[in-house]
Symmetry: C2
């Protein structure tokens, strides 16, 4: 059987490299007589590249070649990746994708076509890069009802936050360092605003709870407003600030799903995930908490996840892998304002003592936090748990303060 | 299709419970019309038990019932589990086992019979309880060459060490607490002497490197000799003491494999695994370090892993899962004395200063450690890396000291 790669960027070239480097063991594991890379599709020129001879620019060559049974999509972006993948599946080819944007937007539709055509559509690499998570969720934890999933799903923001926490860098400095190290794009919006993490939590939630969750239905907040003062208060509180994507089952047809910075206590495994590493914590009703940790991005980690899916496709040519990923239903993800949370609040107050007294009156129990070197007119405290809308209303009535930061708190 | 459980202990009764509780979703995921528990085999009496009606005492009832396609073995021990499992496989039934002793001793043979009969022999629950590890290793990381695997594989010893580290309990006190909490058996030998962890690293090594590794070929050291002084020195060094099982590829037909206490630095994810939790760190050539964390034992976590395997068997009735687990070869695991390591050494010395000078002369570079409240005649230091045999020889020539503890050091 032959394989084609669409998109010869970082991940695509990594896939070509892994397929070549470990060709014999991969072929053996595929349980097919042969498994060879036949085409690489990319509109760009790669003269002098080691794979130059198999580079093509016309998608139809792949589509019309019956010897190509498995197509790898590592183009990224929604178009034309979506049209190409759909055509391949409709032509009876299995597709492996690392494209979280595609899977988050079109997962249900593409899985339905794959099912209809009795081929596979696999996307292990779309979440957590080289960390095995899609397959363990859909297979190993199959006997569990998943109560909640939460994770550090974006390496760029985790690198930035780690630099802020461990090295006292400002957000801007840390972002610059990330860019210099190749961990952040020139335009870092998708990472720092949480959009990338949002796509990933959508994929996980769709997979776990069985109904397609679209990114536009998931409230998403990035890390651009996090200050070193907040980092210090988190430390005083006994934890760290992380960008967390979460999804939780609330009832038969309701889930909460959100991406936002959060105070994570030192008692949680997620607090120890530093630099570009990712980690996903899955809480099952039987198995308890299980954590998957590793590099969430990078050429070879991601490529190796893609190739593992290729091997799986090769081993299941006549039988599709089962995903319980159904169509979206309306009003499935609740408004984040209707979810329960507790807040860390940092604010300016002309009269700090009076402000804290007022805060106690309005919020009930609060825990006051302090840091060395804080301005005299700064206060910080955490609230108890309540519906977010209620907490926000209360905060508005606390007219004596000018809130500078409001960050959600995660318990364990 | 019907399922039978052999062994109605903690795990077996958990399997019955999970199969019942999540029956509908499990049946759906199995993609079979029906998946029902028909028999539970146990020689003990369970009058009044919720499953009393399906309890049987005669193994042949299961063996001769063609409607039983999947047999769960949760008896533990080698006999008669081995004979029963072998008979079931030979009769064309798939078998799911949580029995690490059985898999470590007979894995290759049983997998060979399963292959011959085109049925499955799965054992996800035998390592790491509810942590998905067997399937990710054999599938998700299939595109990787695994460089090394190391892990905290035994919850009992990790609980004891955590109590020593965090609460300053002695080994004996901590063991007693573990027993009171149901985390340690009345006879804790298999746990505290490392035998349980040894079986698990054998299973992992066999799976990863493709040749059966027998427990008797893996050097195994338990935690009974660890003292609070050692715990203190580990802290001063910048880490914690953990019981670590490790296997590493050295060449085409050579691996190292060992179970022993080790100094683990705070830079390693394994340092943050506390209480009864387990974690397995897999280093792949492409994917880098991946860590799997969760409850390594317990009724429901383990049962849920067993049931996930049952679902997998049901979905692959006509196709076996692929494991590259071959027969053992002689001299495959090197003598632990031929492996490279570095040591932490604690000793008595009449003249500490002279002893350390001598140690420097013999070992070359050493790092001296100190702790508050140490007796005047106590010294502690770490060595650089060398072949263990060489380090031991050098230690013997250091006649000025009386070694009290010698513990291996793990880097990252």
């Amino acid at each position: 059987m032959n394989v084609a790669i669409m998109g010869y960027g970082v991940v695509g070239s990594g896939v070509a490299e892994v397929l070549k480097k470990n060709h014999d063991s991969i072929e053996k594991k595929s349980t097919l007589g042969s498994l060879d890379l036949k085409y690489i599709l990319d509109i760009r020129d790669f003269s002098g590249d080691v794979n130059e001879k198999i580079m093509i620019k016309d998608f139809n060559i792949i589509l019309n070649d019956d010897t190509v049974g498995i197509v790898v999509e590592t183009m990224g972006g929604l178009h034309p990746a979506y049209e190409y993948v759909r055509s391949c599946l409709k032509a009876g080819k299995s597709v492996v994708s690392s494209n979280k944007e595609l899977v988050a937007a079109k997962g249900y539709e593409l899985l339905s076509i794959a099912e209809e055509k009795n081929v596979n559509f696999l996307f292990e690499a779309s979440v957590g890069g080289g960390i095995p998570i899609i397959r363990p969720l859909s297979q190993c934890l199959a006997a569990n009802e998943i109560v909640e999933v939460k994770g550090i799903l974006n390496g760029t923001t985790n690198f930035i936050l780690t630099k802020m926490i461990n090295d006292g860098m400002s957000f801007d400095e840390a972002l610059k360092t990330a860019q210099e190290n190749g961990y952040a794009e020139k335009d870092p919006t998708a990472d720092v605003e949480g959009f990338d993490a949002c796509r990933k939590i959508c994929i996980l939630a769709s997979l776990i709870y069985g109904k397609h969750v679209y990114p536009e239905n998931v409230y998403t907040e990035g890390i651009t407003k996090i200050s070193l003062s907040d980092v210090e208060y988190a430390r005083a509180w006994g934890g760290v600030i992380k960008l967390i994507g979460r999804a939780k089952k609330l009832g038969e047809n309701k889930i909460s799903a959100i991406v936002s910075p959060a105070f994570v206590p030192r008692t949680s495994q997620l607090a120890y995930v530093d630099d570009v590493f990712n980690a996903i914590l899955v809480s099952g009703d039987s198995t308890g908490d299980v954590v998957f940790y590793g590099r969430g991005a990078g050429k070879l980690p991601t490529a190796s996840a893609v190739v593992a899916d290729v091997i799986d496709c090769a081993r299941h040519t006549s039988k599709k892998r089962f995903f319980g990923w159904g169509d979206a239903v309306p009003d499935y993800v609740i408004d984040h304002l209707d979810a329960e949370t507790s807040f860390y609040i940092r604010a300016e107050a002309e009269n700090p003592d009076e402000a804290l007294t007022a805060a106690r009156k309005i919020f009930g129990e609060i825990v006051v936090l302090s840091r060395t070197g804080a301005p005299k007119n700064e206060i910080a405290f955490t609230t108890t748990t309540a519906v977010e809308r209620e907490l926000r209303t209360k905060l508005e009535t606390l007219y004596m303060i000018n809130p500078l930061s409001v960050i959600r708190i995660i318990k364990d």
